[in-house]
Symmetry: C2
Amino acid sequence: MEKAKRKEKEFIARRQEILDEAEIIFAAKGFHAATMAEIAQGSGFAIGTLYQFFQGKEDLYVSMVTEKLQLMYQEIRDAVQAREGAIQKVEALVKAYFLFVENNAGFCTFFIRSDGATLPDVSNALREQMIEAYLGQIQFIEGIIEKGIAEGIFPPEKARDHSFALSGIIRGIIFDWLVGAQQGSLAGKTELVTDIFLNGVLINQKNKR
Amino acid sequence: MEKAKRKEKEFIARRQEILDEAEIIFAAKGFHAATMAEIAQGSGFAIGTLYQFFQGKEDLYVSMVTEKLQLMYQEIRDAVQAREGAIQKVEALVKAYFLFVENNAGFCTFFIRSDGATLPDVSNALREQMIEAYLGQIQFIEGIIEKGIAEGIFPPEKARDHSFALSGIIRGIIFDWLVGAQQGSLAGKTELVTDIFLNGVLINQKNKR
DNA sequence: AGGCAAAATGAACGATAATTCATTTATTGA
DNA sequence: TCAATAAATGAATTATCGTTCATTTTGCCT
């Protein structure tokens, strides 16, 4: 079984090379404008070879997006799980999001902007899958917030709305960073975001309505 | 000049019919999967006729998106301008956003989800234009917040971040509504959103860090 | 009415790029 | 070394629309 294992490893490695190139091309030009010829050229394989690894262009695209997304969600989950209290978990969530975006700006520039959902073209299956993945992430955030409710620091019955709100703030700040010069540390805005989410923007309590 | 005016009016009306059908088709299938034949069929014109009104498919798409967007931003501007204080303006902003989405769910389902920006395919010109339009909207929100700073209720130097945060919360809640059953009133969530933005989610001040 | 201009029509064209597959090249085991 | 098997190749095929434009229809004015 020594040989089969090495074969398998090589297969995975080549597949990943193709995926990496696909990410660059798709991110730069979008699904339709990107061609299989470019991706083949860029990854150093012949066009036909791509079809040994993926059923077609759509499969390649879907694989690239879903595998990258899964990576992101995994990183975030891990970071959050490593912390204890609800507030610490919120902080970890925001920071993990920001770090992933900083390290994957190319991918995120064309993807995060699309709210984890649409890409109305390409494939309905992918759209559904991405919406589902995003809603899964929302549920994960809900879990954090429900922990906060149990701790008595968050109000009950609003976990879902608050999850979308937090996710929205994070995405808003990410968008700013991606579209702007991508300069300065995005992770450095972690405290800003958690502050807005936890305390709002009013200067002091007397303004509370 | 009587005749020319009527001609002009008819031209605009026909053009709008095409745009309305284009909105439906593009929203349902995205730019590439939609065909000129479908749009012609749906709007009751021949394929060639579409080219009397638009230079081509891309022009039709860009026109549809930008004109609809402009409408949305106009509605929001008007609603905000009608109110006085910064907090009232924030409320008006959120509510106007929500009302537009409720009345244009089809358009928003495929567009708002994409964060006012990307659509990486189609045309670079459109992407730039849409990012610019979104940033214009952000600047408009910044204006509101700066008014709040002048009123002494918002902290200085964070207007831009807070604008993105508010926009993000709004989009987050909209996303929930669009992807969910689109049931219940979205406008009814206005207070929830302004509350989160102004006061955060912590139950009371003693939890402030 | 009847002729002129503007608008509408949709079949045919052309360009693009995904996919296929017959052929070539590399790898393996005896 | 040399079959035999697996993998890689890329030219040729094929399908799909966007666009064009010669023709028809409509509307307008005298």
